[in-house]
Amino acid sequence: MNKAARPKPAGLWISKTVVRVLLLLWTLIVLYPVFWTFITSLKNNQQVMLGKPWDFPSVMHFENYANVWSRAHFGSYFMNSILVTAGSTILSLALASTTAYILARYSFKGRGVLYFIYIASMMIPTTLGLIPLFFLLNDMHLSNSLLGLTLVYSVGTIGILPLGIFFLVGFYKTLPKELEEAATIDGSSLSGIFLRIMLPLSSPGMITVGIMNALTVWNEYIMATVLINDPMKYTIPVGIAVMQGEMQYRTEWGPLFAGLSISMIPVIVMYVIYQRQITGGLTAGALKG
């Protein structure tokens, strides 16, 4: 319809072509550095220093991955990242979904204020809390511990909890109330209604929030570097930054890039599987306010 109504179809064709070229160019700019990370991760120092950056490795040095995994301890960083990500994703989902359910379905005094507090916290620069948070965890003997880091991620200033609440309140409000009403008449307890009816119904929303949280936590750097000093407790982002810092003493380009690749592979896998939830989840309601 659009095309038929246009007076100058040739003009549209040209602008489409120009746009396509620009889109392809940006695709290249986005994807090439990632691709380049993978090819560099398979080179040895000599290939990196003497060859061109875009050269393919003449010999594939897969041992870079083995090196970085065991000798540079990326194996344990990986496990730490998995633990912290799983723990804080589950904990923040549990804490966000219960609050969001009440905020969406019950009226009580202070409801507006409570919702406002969670939303307003997202607009405050959290750097302000960085130093106090460090000493708080120190006082609680939770600094330098994966449990402490998990707590900070779940409910601390990085903000995945308020974002989860915000998103899930919106999601619960779209769910029909009839099932809950029927369950009440049947004599279900209030928490039973939540657990047996609302939780299963809200699983698409929970998955979206869970994935967004998991990505945030998996990639988080600043809290982890402030709170964790013990090299055996590093998460992957901290391990990468520390390894880069050590590059001035011993250069190991291949293993460093293998480390970057190890960090990205789970993210890419998640993204390929859940891309609709990830891109759709953001557009469904986040940051409309």
Partner: protein
């Protein structure tokens, strides 16, 4: 909100209250401890002289704030913060809007694929981005100089991150690269919310793509546009120091120093803890002022339309 039960049973109100409290309190208590308390504590600390330990905390009123005014690093850091804010807002919004409009309005078949690809940098860890781009900028081995050398007689060996004039500019591409996708998705969502009948009517009247953009798309996505700009400002003032920490360490000679990283250095390297907290308050004040000014400026634009 809804009456789940029409006949009030004995004790129902009490059970309901207990249920609400039981669902709200654990979250709120933990949130208060780990989010609200640190933020308030940061504000409180800025009025003390404190370098760790419990005995040595002295109230000094606005002493830290006076030091802030005399600190020679602060004006440069503020300038660099706003350099990043300014260019990130311009470049990210320009690219994000262009991509969003192209993908939605030109009805390309590849729409879904581009959407997925362009968002990809947003899901990579900032530490990966920092290391990756440091290596792209590496004077001898990096991609950028090798690429530029293809077009020049002698090989380019620009030290992008080590040159005091280039370093700030060099921090922009990674920040923009990593930011566009998110805002593109937000703008796409609001464009898709515009009724297509408006566009159909406009093209019947012979309005071209550009006219459709300025007369229909832009006015109707303006709220989202405004929110996105303010979000870029806040996240930049709050978080741009991470890329600084990873790529330049504030150097060369404080030329890429930003407030957030100065806070980090004061707090965790030099243990001027209360001074660090004061810098945090400064960041908060600047964010609030900038947000208010932008709200005012961008609102005027909508009225003019």
């Amino acid at each position: 909100m809804i009456k789940l039960n029409n006949k009030p049973k004995a004790g129902y109100a009490a059970r309901r209250r207990l249920f609400i409290a039981g669902f709200l309190l654990p979250t709120f208590i933990l949130f208060s401890i780990f989010t609200i308390y640190p933020l308030l504590r940061g504000l409180y600390l800025s009025f003390f002289d404190w370098s760790g330990g419990s005995e040595t905390m002295n109230f000094i009123g606005f002493g830290n704030y006076k030091d802030l005014l005399d600190d020679e690093v602060i004006p440069g850091a503020i300038k660099n913060d706003y350099f990043l804010v300014f260019w990130k807002v311009i470049l990210i919004m320009l690219f994000a809007t262009f991509f969003a409009v192209s993908l939605t309005r030109l009805k390309l078949k590849e729409y879904g694929l581009y959407r997925v690809i362009f968002f990809f940098p947003n899901i990579i860890s900032v530490s990966v981005i920092g290391v990756l781009w440091s290596f792209i900028y590496n004077p001898h081995l990096g991609f950028l100089n090798s690429f530029l050398s293809l077009f020049t007689q002698k090989s380019v060996d620009t030290n992008w991150l080590g040159d005091s004039h280039l370093a700030m500019w060099s921090l922009l591409p990674p920040s923009v690269w990593a930011g566009i996708g998110f805002y593109m998705l937000l703008i796409i969502a609001s464009i898709l919310g515009i009724p297509s009948s408006l566009y159909e009517a406009a093209s019947m009247d012979g309005a071209g793509q550009w006219k459709q953009f300025t007369k229909i798309t832009l006015p109707l996505i303006w709220e989202q546009f405004k929110t996105s700009i303010i979000h870029i400002v806040i996240t930049t003032l709050n978080g741009s120091f991470i890329i600084v920490k990873l790529m330049t360490d504030g150097g060369p000679d404080n030329h890429t120093q930003v407030l957030g990283y100065y806070l980090y250095q004061m707090g965790f390297k030099q243990f001027h803890l209360s001074y660090g907290a004061t810098i945090g308050v400064l960041i908060l004040i600047l964010s609030i002022i900038t947000t208010l000014i932008l709200q005012r400026l961008l609102r005027r634009d909508t009225i003019e339309m």
